[in-house]
Amino acid sequence: MLDSDHAAFIQTGVSISLAACAVDRLPCMSRGLGCKLIDGGRQVAIFIKRSQSAELLDNIRNTGRVASVFNLPSSNRTVQLKGVDAHIQPFDPADLPVIASHVSLFLDEVIPFGMQENMIRAMFACTVDDLVTVVYSPSAAFTQTPGPKAGDPLGAAS
């Protein structure tokens, strides 16, 4: 589903968020602390904090449907991925360097915009036992870079 360019893009210093809806359609979302590709790029794994995401995790368990956006502040480039087979996995401490790397890349992105490093680090502060991994196969992908083409399927947009 993801070409190499988009696969690389979502693993840079992007802002990541993940959403899922309850059966009554009420959506909920959380910030992602990083992501990685697995299964040869066929699946995306996003790391979130359990303490921030009880409702989101319930929604994922109930529906399996997720949407996630990846936005690079310096360029406004934004991609949305959706999946219908999301499931929750325990966090593997071996992925901690992925989060550390993501925080570092994200800081490089937002500090030029005047963001305070201690504030950003607080947003990403976490403990291993509070982390959880959400895995899904992207079944739809859209460009969401602001503009009239926002919402077009990836590949259809210029």
């Binding site: 909920c28 959380s30 910030r31 921030q52 406004n76 503009g147 919402g151």
Partner: protein, 445 residues
Amino acid sequence: MSLRLETIRECLEGIIPGHIATCDRAGMPNLAYLSQVEFIDNEHVALSYQFFNRTRQNILADSPVRLLLTSHLTGAQYRLTLHYLRTEAAGPLFEQMRAKLAGIASHTGMAGIFQLLGADIYRVLNIEQVPGETVAPPPPPVNCLNALRRTVDRLATCNTLECLLEKAVDCLEKEFGIAHLMLLMHDEARGRLYTLASRGYPESGIGSEIPVGAGVIGICARERTPIRIGFTNSEYAYGRTVRDGIAADGQADALETAIPLPGLPDAASQMAVPISVAGRLLGVLYVESVSDLHFGYDEEDALVAFAAQLGLAIVHHQPADDQPDEPAGSEEAAPAVAGTPLTIRHFAATDSVFIDDDYLIKGVAGAILWVLLSDFAERRRTSFTNKGLRVDPRIRLPGVSDNLEARLVLLQRRLEERDAGIRLTKTGRGRFSLAVDRPLQLLES
């Protein structure tokens, strides 16, 4: 609702962009970034509608809405549950958001792409703080509430309009720490605002004009609502851009152009606040800064409250009990003066007045000056009353809402700046005197 929206308004400024989540009828979630969230009150916000995208489709299909907002001061995150009510495509809220979006678009390289189609209004059903580490917010540069209190105290000591205007700009500068500001009055008959006081510019610009509807100041006046922009943008520039636009529209003859409007050429933050009393626009307060996002919701609140107080005080100082006009010739004639005559030229079509070929003023203030100087030249008259001016058929004041007192302050200040030897001095409530240091030669054109 445990949290009051007014206490987390910094999250709405978009410094860290918010997220909006919706759901289609099949239960598929959708996530998007928000350009703008506008605080309306503790139960309502407005979101900018710029494109007919999936979010919009879902909202129109009755999707519940969730926002995730983040404070750039503390890192705290909040989830808001919203219910869509309606979309406004005109009016004060729409214009507030359109102006703010123009700044955001310019700042993010989206000028020409972000165009506000509507202000989507939502009821806020719930606000929850997302658990997580936060940092202490930095202290604000100014305690706006305390600055407002001190300002109101100082305004209460004034007993003339002139003192009031002087104190008003002085307080904005000293109590609020605002380095660049203007106070403009509304000329209702002409649909113009004229600068009556300013601070922080090389030239005061007193007497300069801007049409209602032009730039940040003019839109604030037209919509009677505060307009606040956090980033440099050309769409809402006032100065030369506005003037060029007016000239292109063929209205230049109606606009004061000889006195340049003051203003920062590279302003990033701009805020204009209307001064209104009982539904009538008296003027506009305008402040600006070269820093991005210099004025926030707290500054806007404080200046709105300040403008309300100032407006009531201005009305209070418009003399209702004008002194009766004195019979002509009753006062002591002014002594004769010697020296090179001052040439005063009056152009009746626009009531423009020139002193020794230098432009001074036009419009109502120009007509007033010409009457004063004519009476002085004919019978050495130096004492005048507001009431006399109001009934003088030569001046043609535009009715009861003439702001005569403000026009006299404008004229007095222009004469002071010109320093040509003609002075107006207030001598009592509704009464003033004219002093002329040199012989006059009056020419009517």
